[in-house]
C-alpha cells in the first residue's frame, strides 16, 4: 500500500480506542429493566423535602412507606434535561475519602488530620497526571460537626485544581460553596467557574438517604456540579449477576438524577460508579477486581446514550 496522504490514520490525532463489554442491545435491555424497577418497585426516600419534590415532579409517592415510584416519562425527561457531556478527554482524581492516613515522613498509619488534608491537596496540586482533587482525608482533629468545612478550606488553600468537597448535608454544601466563592469572587462567579463540586452515594439497594438528597437538592439550587455515585455490591446489596447489579445501580443513579432535575431543570450532574462485587468468601467489597473493571466499562458505556459524564472508580 502506497501512502498518498500525509495523514494516513487519525488514531494518533484523536484516540478512538473504545473498550466495550456491552452491546447496544444489552444497554437497551438494562435501561428498559431499570425503568420497570423505578416504576414498579421504586426507591426509598428518607427525607420529606425530597419526597415533596418527587411528588410535585410527577412521581407516585407513598408517604407511609416513603417509596417513590417514577414513571418512565419522568425519568426520560430528567435524563434529557441534564447538560450534555462535552466529550473532553478523561480526567483523573484522587480517592475520596480515607479514614486513615499514611504519613509519608514517618510511615505512621493514623487517623487523618487537617494538616494531612492540606498535604494531600498540595500533592495533587503538584502531580501532573492528577487533574482534580477530592477530599482525601477527614480531618479528625477538627470539630466533628465542621470537619468537612475544615477539609474544604485546607483543600482550597493548597490546590488551584478543582475541588470535590465532602458534604453530607445541605448546610455543608452551602458553607463549602461560600468558601469557594471567597476564591472566585462570589456565588454567581462560582456558578460560572465551579471550582467546587459534590458527590453523593445512594445506599444499595434502592435507597436515597437524607444526606444524599440534601446534597443533590442544594447543589442543584446553587448551580454546582454533583456526581451521583452508586456503590452496589453484587451478591450483597444487588443481584449476584453483574447484569442485575447494573440494573440496581442504574435505578439508584437515575433516581438521584431525577431529583436533581426536578429541583432545578438543567442541573449539572454526572453518572458515578464505585459498584463492584462482594467477595462472598470474606463478605468484603472487591475493589481492584476484574468485576469492578467490567462494571466500570459497562457504566461508561451506559452513561454515553444518556449523554452524561461518567465518573468511574479505577486508579
Amino acid at each position: 500500500m502506497t501512502p498518498d496522504d500525509d495523514r494516513l490514520s487519525t488514531i494518533g490525532a484523536r484516540p478512538q480506542m473504545r473498550l466495550e463489554v456491552l452491546s447496544a442491545g444489552d444497554i437497551d435491555a438494562i435501561h428498559a429493566e431499570t425503568l420497570t424497577v423505578l416504576e414498579q418497585t421504586g426507591v426509598f426516600v428518607e427525607d420529606d423535602a425530597a419526597l415533596d419534590i418527587f411528588a410535585d415532579g410527577g412521581a407516585r409517592v407513598d408517604r407511609e412507606t416513603r417509596m417513590v415510584r417514577l414513571p418512565g416519562e419522568v425519568v426520560e425527561a430528567a435524563i434529557a434535561a441534564c447538560p450534555p457531556d462535552d466529550g473532553a478527554p478523561v480526567r483523573f482524581s484522587n480517592f475520596d475519602e480515607g479514614i486513615m492516613y499514611r504519613d509519608p515522613r514517618t510511615g505512621e498509619l493514623r487517623e487523618g488530620r487537617t494538616a494531612d488534608a492540606a498535604a494531600s491537596a498540595l500533592l495533587v496540586d503538584a502531580l501532573g497526571q492528577i487533574d482534580d482533587y477530592a477530599a482525601a482525608v477527614r480531618p479528625s482533629d477538627a470539630p466533628a460537626a465542621t470537619a468537612a468545612i475544615h477539609g474544604c478550606e485546607a483543600a482550597l488553600l493548597n490546590t488551584s485544581k478543582p475541588v470535590g468537597a465532602e458534604a453530607t448535608s445541605g448546610w455543608e454544601v452551602r458553607v463549602c460553596a461560600e468558601l469557594a466563592a471567597c476564591v472566585v469572587g462570589g456565588l454567581d462567579e462560582l456558578r460560572e467557574d465551579p471550582i467546587v463540586s459534590f458527590g453523593v452515594c445512594p445506599v444499595s439497594p434502592l435507597k436515597l438517604p437524607r444526606d444524599a438528597t440534601e446534597v443533590i437538592v442544594e447543589s442543584a439550587r446553587l448551580g454546582l456540579p454533583n456526581c451521583i455515585l452508586s456503590m452496589a455490591m453484587a451478591g450483597g446489596s444487588s443481584p449476584v449477576t453483574l447484569a442485575g447489579t447494573l440494573v440496581v445501580h442504574n435505578a439508584e443513579v437515575l433516581s438521584g438524577i431525577a431529583l436533581a432535575q426536578l429541583t432545578e431543570h438543567g442541573a449539572s450532574v454526572s453518572y458515578g460508579s464505585s459498584t463492584t462485587s462482594m467477595d462472598l468468601r470474606f463478605a468484603a467489597a472487591s475493589v481492584g477486581s476484574p468485576e469492578l473493571a467490567l462494571i466500570g466499562v459497562a457504566v461508561a458505556q451506559m452513561a454515553r446514550p444518556y449523554r452524561l459524564p461518567s465518573l468511574i472508580a479505577g486508579a
Binding site: 480517592f95 492516613y101 494531600s120 496540586d125 471567597c182 461508561a300 479505577g314
Partner: protein, 155 residues
Amino acid sequence: MGHEKTLTAFAAALAGASYVYGAGMTESGVTFDPAQLVMDDEWIAMIRHFTRGILVDRDTLGGADIAAVGPFGDYLSLPSTYAHMREQSQPRVMDRRVREEWEAAGATDMYERARRRACEILDDHQRAPLDDEVKARMRAVVERVDRERGGASGR
C-alpha cells in the same frame, strides 16, 4: 498496589470514562497514602500514553531514515530521534535501570522512591498564590461555623 490499579483504571480510561477516581487509595478505600498517590500518578501517565495511540503519517513512517540507516547503522544520533525523543514515556519512580546500576543507586523499592518523592513535593511545592484577603475571608467563614456548630476549634 500496581496491578489492580492498572486493571481498573486502564479499563475505565479505554472505555471512554469522563473521570476516573481513586488515586492514592489503598485497602479498598480505608487509607489514603501519599506514596501510593505518587505511584498512581505514574501509572496514569502510562495509561494516558497508551490512549494516545500510534500516529501514522509520512513523518512517523520514517521511510527516508530507514533507507539511510540500512542494515548496519543505528538510529541513536538521527535528527528524527532527537525530535521525537521527548514523546517517549518517562517514568520517574519506576526504575528501568539494570540491576547493577539499581543496586549502586541504593537498591530502593518503588514504594520507598514514591514516599521520598512525596516528601520532596511537600517540602518544595507551593500552590499558586492566593490573596491574603481571600484567605482571611475563608478563615472567617470557618471560624463562624465553628462558633455556630463546632464548639471549640480543634481538640
